[in-house]
Structures are given as structure tokens and as C-alpha cells.
Amino acid sequence: MKKKGSVLSTLIIIIGVIAGLALLDYFFAFHTNSKNLYKGYSDSSSSGVTDENGIFRDDPAELERLSKIVRETSAKLDLNILIFLPDSTKKYYTDDDVRDFTANKYNDTFGEFTDGLLYYIDISGKSPACDDIAKSGKASLVYTEDICQNIFYALDEYLPPSYGPVYPEHITNAVEHFCSLLETNYSESRASEPYYDATANVPTYTYYRNGKTYITKSKPPLRKLLICIAAEAVGGLTALIIFLCTKGRYKFKNKTNPSIYLNNNDVHFIDNSDVLIRSYVTKHRIESSSGGGGSRGGGGGGGHSHGGSISHSSHHR
């Protein structure tokens, strides 16, 4: 009866501890979030094509037409979209410089923590060229790394090689297809994984929760919950191991070896013999093992036309 009561009280304590931890986890995960920095999307007025290179200098109508297409796509997707055509001064930018530039240019144009993206088509003369897409807000969630890479590959068909001349029709085709690709690849349901922007001045997490977009400096609640649960599991397991190991030390261990009660002088053998009764030899053939070497042909790896970096950049030739 007493044992039953003890088991019951232990069970109640365990349930209490688990419930307490669950409450604590809930509090940590859902009530310790930093401020939502998300600003969203206002209108498509700032979207368009910025021709710093001057490739459409002789045909401003075409540039305006392309900007209109971009603005329409922007309005349709509720995303700020800017396509930037750099001049030759950015020819010596490193890939990192390009990424910094696109991120800063986006922020300068549309503001931080807004929904949108900036597509940097590298026609500066840099070889290899480094294309980049700087994303912000919802765009970070919708256009994942894989999608951006696919877009780069798809546009590779329309863009000239790094070393070749660039004509306005190259850009026209690229912009039209880029907008088309943005539309076809748009799917909010894809954005289940939070996006972590480690390159920003203050690293932020972008994620959806309950149909709303959040940009916070702290981790998303579900991730925080997982961290809490994992930490508690590690802590609990450690505590359990320490408990069991220590408990094991509180056991009776000593036992005297009875051999101490037998002295050599008190042993008197009548027969203490080891007699050889038989001897035989067995032999086995040693199997020779032949190793199958074989040369490994080294197939040359085909180069990508887009030597895209891990982030959003890509090179076209």
C-alpha cells in the first residue's frame, strides 16, 4: 500500500515536472519574441528596371516597356521588384561586393524588411559575371535558394557570355522571362521553412505564422520550442545518467576472497600431474586471395554554364 502511494507520488511529481517544463517551453517559445520588423509591400511605383549601364540609352521606350512589365508583375505578386543593370564601374566588384551592393541597393530603394527582390544582371564586363538576387521579406520565403538557381539556369539561355557583347534584346528577353519565372514559381505554401538572413547587419529570421509574415531578430517560435525540448532532453538524460551512476556507487560491494584461508603449506597433493596423452597435427591449405584492383577512370566534370555561388549569385558567359 505504501509502495503504491510512493509510486503514485513519484508519478505525480514526474507529471508535474513535465507539465511545468511544457508551460515554460511555451512561454519561452511564444512569449519571448523580439519585435516584428516586417513592413510588407505598399505599391509597385518604385519597381522597374534601373539601367545604370545605359544599354537602353537609345531606346528609352523599350526600357519603359520593360519597367511596366516589372511593375505589373510587382502588383500581381505584391512584391517590390527591381532589375538592376550595372555599369562598367562595377566590373571589378568581387562576388561579395556584388551581394553587398544588391542588398544595400534593395534597402535604399524599397526599405528594409519589405517584401521584394532585386535582380542584378551583371553586364558590367566582369568575367565571370556574377548575377545576384537580393530578397527581402516574403520573397525570401517564396524564392528559395533552389528556385533562384533554377531561375539563373533558365535565364542563362537568354543572356550573353561574360566575354561577349551585350545587346538590348538580351536584356529584354531576360527581363520578360524573369518576370514570367517569378510568377510561375510563386507559391506561398512553399514557405514553411523560416529564412535566416545571416548577411544582414542584424541577422534576422523571416517566417510565416498563422498567415502572417514575421521578420524578427529572435528565432521563430517553433524553432525555439524545438531547442527548448532538445535542451531539456539533453539535460534530463544527463541528470538521469548521473543519478543512475551515483546510485550504483551506493551499493554493497566488498567481499573477501576465501583464498586467504588456504596456505600453500596446507596443500598436500598425492597426484599432481600433467600427462601427455595424445598429440596430432592438422594442416590447412592457405587460400590465396586475389585482389581486384582496377583503374578508376576519371571522367571530366562538365562545367556549368552558370558557376553560381551558393547564395543568389550566378555567372553567365
Binding site: 505504501k2 519561452f28 517559445a29 519571448t32 523580439s34 531578430k217 529572435s218 528565432k219 525555439k224 531547442i227 527548448c228 532538445a230 535542451a231 531539456e232 539533453v234 539535460g235 534530463g236 544527463t238 541528470a239 538521469l240 548521473i242 543519478f243 551515483t246 546510485k247 556507487r249 551506493y250 551499493k251 554493497f252 566488498n254 567481499k255 573477501t256 576472497n257 576465501p258 583464498s259 586467504i260 584461508y261 588456504l262 596456505n263 596446507d266 596443500v267 598436500h268 597433493f269 598425492i270 597426484d271 599432481n272 600431474s273 600433467d274 600427462v275 601427455l276 596423452i277 595424445r278 598429440s279 596430432y280 597435427v281 592438422t282 594442416k283 590447412h284 591449405r285 592457405i286 590465396s288
Partner: protein
Amino acid sequence: MESVEYKCPNCNADLKFNPTSQKLECEYCLSAFTVDEIKKLCATTENSIPQEAVQVQEDFANHTHLYRCKSCGAEIMADDQLTATFCYYCHNPVILAGKMGGEFKPDKVIGFKLTRDNAIACFKKWVGKRWFVPKDFKSQQQLEKLTGLYVPFWLADCHVNVDVRAIGKKLRHWVSGNYSYTETKEFRITRVGGMLTKGIPADGETKIEDLLMEAIEPYDYRELKDFSMSYLSGFYADKYDVDKSAVFPRIRVRSNQACSAYIRSTISGYSGIIPSSEQYNISNTDWRYTLLPVWFMSYKYKDKIYEFAINGQTGKLAGTPPLSKGRLGLLCAAIGAALSAIIIVVGGGIF
């Protein structure tokens, strides 16, 4: 608190056995007497020392009493002057039950060499390494429960006829050409003879765990003395309640273990041994009923009694330390919580 008292021939105060000097000493006039001296001087007081064996047993019976604990039923041997205050097993008061029969007079005794302070030091050293014992387990009050107790032991000298037969194999490998050769030599191993295991002890007290007593072995039997009540002065003593026939199975097992270990040590150099037969027959056993010194302590914790014993001669300690699961649990929980907190903070679980 003495179980047996001897009066000082000079001042008539109580004499106490001092383990350090191995003498009976008077705290008032500072007289000191060896056991042999007191045997002569107190011949009229301690009537258990006459020359004739019959007289010895009768006198021992006349001057020795059994106290029985109402709670646990333990029987405690003491002389007729003793007023016991508590049972050293369960710490409950004991009452006078009856006189002890002469057959309980031990043959031999080893006097206490470890003083109470030595025993406390041993215990403190042992318990110092254990952090999670209950707090009051280390308390002064608990240390006061340490009781010097002469535990009844049966010492058995077993004459064992040994007959062990086995087949031993020696292997030798070599390679020649495309062949690997193995030479196997088989030996008939025979070990036949007699062995004498001397002084295997078995406590004759049901109230004390056998394993606990085995754990504080061995005693140095070179210090065995003929029994005299004077050794008991200042200590408790117990009479056996398990006779030698009842302890014999334990003795036999330990004797066989000793012989078997010895036989194994004589068989070496073989790759494999296949036992054919192994017989250990005890043909004769010589018994000595002996009182051996043990500092004994029991501790009740959560309805469980924990017993500790210290060899009163060598200071070897054994026992199961009580574990305060609450304290250990709290520390483990604190470590687990700290670790979790570090992981949560470092992993960004909060911020």
C-alpha cells in the same frame, strides 16, 4: 553502558578494556591490569575462570544474562550488572530475558584493537567520500550509536579431499609453403590430494548480515586468545543463535571456493581446459567458537535498516551507504537544468 563490569581491586571502580593497551584500566585510580592479572586478582569476582571446564561453564552461566529486544528479538549477552539502554540492532530498549547457558562460552576471543575514536575516524573517512548520504547519517548523534560488539563466530578448519581431473590442450601453429599447420597436444591433468582451509569464519548471529561480516574479514588469528570475560568489559557481546551445523553450508562453499581457486592457479600454460571432474569433499572440520571484535552501527532510513561494521582489529569497514535520493535528485536536476539552460541560451531558445 558496559555489558560486563569488573571492579578495580584497588578502588572498586569499574574497569574497562582499553583496545590500545590491551589492558583493563581504571579511570579513577589509573590502575591497569592485563587479562591474566585480572584473572588472578578477580578470581572471586569473575567466577568464569576456574581451572575445571565444568566449573567454568557453570560460573559463566551464573554470571551471564541474555537480554532480549522486544522489537527485533535480538539476544544480547551481558553480565548481571548490565543495564542495557538500547538494542544495537534496532536501537530500541531491551529487557532481561534469561541467563545464558554454559555452552555459549566461547573458546577464543580477539580483543578490540580499534578504539572508539579510531572507529569513528574510519567511519568518517569512509562516509566522507559519499556526498549523498542523509545529513543526519554523519551527525554526532549517529556516531554515538557506534557500538563495540563481540560477534559470535564459528571458525572452521576444513580438511578437504580434492580430486580434480581435466584435459588441457596446448596448440602450436606454423606455416610451411601453402599450408598452415596446427599441432595439438592433449594432457591429462590430475590434482588429487588433501587441503586444509584454516579459520574460515561464519558469524553465528542471524541478526547480522552474513555478507557484511564476510566483507570485514580477515581477522589476524595470531591474536586469538583464550576467552575471558575481561575482554568484554566496555563492549557488548552476543551469543550465537546459529549453530555450527547451520553455518556449515556457508563454510563449505567458501572452503570449496578457496580450494578451487588454488587448483586453478596450479593449472597454467594451456590454450584450453576441458574439466572432466571436480570434487571437493570435506572429510573433517575442526570448530572454534570465537568472539571477534566489530564496531557496529545501524541506521534507519525510510523504513530500511542499514548496517555498518568495522573490523575491530584491522579497521576494515563495510556496509551499504544509505542514499538520499532527494538530495541526489536535486543535484542531478540542478545539473540537468543548468545544462538545459546553457543549451537554450547558446542555441537561441530564448532570444
